[in-house]
Amino acid sequence: MSIVENFDLYAPRLIDKEEYFSAGHRACQGCGEALAIRLMCKALGKDTVVVNATGCMEVISTMYPTTAWNLPWIHVAFPNAAAVAAGVEAGLKVMRRKGRIPDRDVKTVAIGGDGGTFDIGFQALSGTMERGHDVLYVCFDNEAYMNTGIQRSGATPFGASTTTAPAGVASSGKGQWKKNITEIMVAHNVPYVATACHSYPIDFMNKVKKARSIKGPSFIHCLSVCPTGWRVPSAHAIKMGRLAVETGIFPLYEVEEGKYRMTYRPERIRPVEDYIKGQGRFRHLSPDELTAIQKRITLEYNKLLDKVDNLHSWGELQD
């Protein structure tokens, strides 16, 4: 059963009508990331400070003197969203303690793309998670450096053609597998880690709400379809996100205090070909390469199910 069944019926009641990430920004048509941010903000509500890493979202939303943000927002640089967020959180905490700002919870949320999270911002992210700041970090992963023109990142999937790992006679695009950032965050022993996708809006928003309510660091890895970089029609952004989940390439799950839970489990896992064939970035792949990808995806999915079935929560393992 789909978790977004009867979405049209429930959505108006479930989703905040307030727009915190407002229309008029300059995102490409069909941008999954802009949609995901809009949904994230609705789930977070007004008592939020957003810290943005350099990237598409910062560029398209804040061309001076305009801003799309109806939330307090700061951008400093590319690699440091997590570190800036640590400072914002520490600042708000100490000023609240000293009575200089109103005595209520304001959540600090850092956002970054896959480049700003998996690669250049990785050290700052690790530090902020390790130090236990009360910060939610949401990575909007569109699987390449899209802002600079579709270059390969640590999040680019195996076989995708990018402008720095292009497919050609002597190359099949990126020759390495995607870094598993979610598991790396789990290894930081933070209380809440989840994957999400804008194509499953209620699931994503529920996860944002849960992460927001948790005191301490949390991380959401949100797959965000980039029609421009993935070479898909802009009308296919939602469909591609759903196919990523239904093929098992991007399973939706959460890890709450060590306990793994699938938040959406497709009844039947579709072949990865269903996802890959519609995307220009994979157009060059041979049947053998497709088989290799299928094999790897099945293995990773089964590894995840094994964790879901067998790992216990910290509470259960105590004593």
Binding site: K46, A77, V84, G87, K98
Partner: protein
């Protein structure tokens, strides 16, 4: 009442910063400045300072966290040296551009390579054009005083710029000196609480650090330049108030025996103290020599400099950094530029000394004075010299 203390200068700097009640301190260990954040963490651990001390995983994150905290409206402080400062350098011009009044102490140390932990000023010179107010302490007392003044200058409504206070690594950071430490009441009466113009809070929404397109970029550059230049007025006001309250005078250029002297030395940082001894000795020997101690590096005190050299025949600028492939030392470059439009200007020579911790004893300053005296008659051939290079 101020208290007479004897203390390592880095620790005294931390005590002075604590008197300013920073809300957030973010720092990463690096020699030779480490004792500053170490001691601040002690002060926090002892419960003497109510602050969030963030043990960041890099200097890049130290200044990033300070930017976030300052944006939120918290008084923020960091300290670093050399490679740490270089590692921060992506964020340094952003902090000034965003008008975040972060205060930073820099324990000056040579930039690699070769790797070297000892003093020169190449680290801060590498950040020269970053839009920060930059001042140099010559001794422990100036370190304490400037650390406190820095917050007041940085947070002034007409300034709102970050400030770096420089003290020479080891030469100052690790030296025990007698100093006057102001008490909390005195600092409270001098330094008002931080009242930011805009903060990151949902009660009043702002966007900070937005994208500047070519259509507005020249304008942002001009405003940064004008604000930094105009900060001179506030710096002088704050120094005047400091003198009235604490009796210690601060000027962009401190002149010692300068008026009427044929030769002047110009120093930046702790070398001014040794140079002063050499100048006193030389004067006893009948040599007409004085000393200019540059304290304010940015905004550069062009006016004061032109006034200070009136009547002098040779000015020897002592640099503790090299502008490789350029005009010699960075101070020298500024000084010559300042003199270009003067009808009567002194001969300017440049001696680059004390790199990577190379000791510069009084006798070396005497040699430089000697060379300067000769330059009154014969203009030296080379524009600048890296002093005391073996084999040359």
């Amino acid at each position: 009442m101020s208290k007479r203390i004897g203390m390592e200068i880095a620790l005294a700097a931390a005590e002075a910063v604590a008197l300013c009640k920073p809300d957030v301190v973010a720092a990463y260990p690096i020699t030779p400045n480490t004792h500053v954040p170490e001691h601040l963490s002690d002060i926090v651990a002892e419960g003497r300072l109510d602050a969030e001390f963030i043990c960041v995983e890099s200097e890049h994150s130290a200044l990033s966290a300070c930017c976030g905290a300052s944006g939120a409206g918290a008084r923020s402080f960091t300290a670093t040296s050399s490679q740490g400062l270089a590692y921060m350098s992506e964020i340094i011009p952003i902090a000034s551009s965003m008008r975040l009044p972060v205060v930073m102490i820099v324990g000056n140390r040579a930039l690699s390579g070769p790797i070297n932990i000892w003093n020169d000023q190449s680290d801060i010179m590498y950040q020269r054009d970053s839009g920060w107010i930059s001042m140099f302490a010559a001794n422990g007392q100036e370190t304490i005083d400037m650390a406190i003044q820095a917050f007041k200058i940085a947070e002034h409504r007409d300034v709102m710029l970050p400030v770096n206070v420089n003290l020479d690594g080891f030469q100052l950071t690790h030296v025990v000196e007698p100093m006057e430490m102001p008490d909390q009441k005195e600092v409270d009466s001098f330094l008002p609480p931080f009242k930011p113009i805009a903060t990151l809070h949902p009660d009043k929404i702002v966007s900070m650090g937005t994208l500047g397109l070519p259509e507005i970029f020249n304008e942002t550059a001009k405003s940064k330049d004008e604000i930094l230049k105009d900060s001179r007025r506030v710096i002088l006001e704050v120094w005047k108030e400091w003198e009235e309250k604490f009796g210690r005078k601060y000027e962009p250029i401190e002149a010692c025996e300068a008026r009427g002297s044929d030769v002047l030395l110009m120093t930046l940082g702790s070398m001014g103290e040794t140079a002063e001894v050499a100048v006193e000795e030389a004067r006893k020997d009948g040599i007409s020599v004085g000393l200019l101690k540059l304290k304010l590096w940015r905004p550069f005190p062009f006016e004061e400099l032109r006034k200070a050299v009136k009547g002098c025949k040779v000015l020897a600028v002592l640099d503790r950094a090299v502008s490789y492939g350029g005009p010699g030392g960075p101070v020298f470059s500024e000084v010559r530029s300042a003199f270009y439009d003067m009808q009567e200007r002194p001969v300017v020579i440049n001696e680059i000394i004390g790199l990577g911790g190379r000791d510069v004893p009084v006798s070396d300053f005497r040699k430089i004075i000697e060379k300067s005296v000769q330059a009154i008659k014969t203009k030296p051939e080379e524009e600048y010299e890296i002093f005391g290079v073996r084999g040359s």
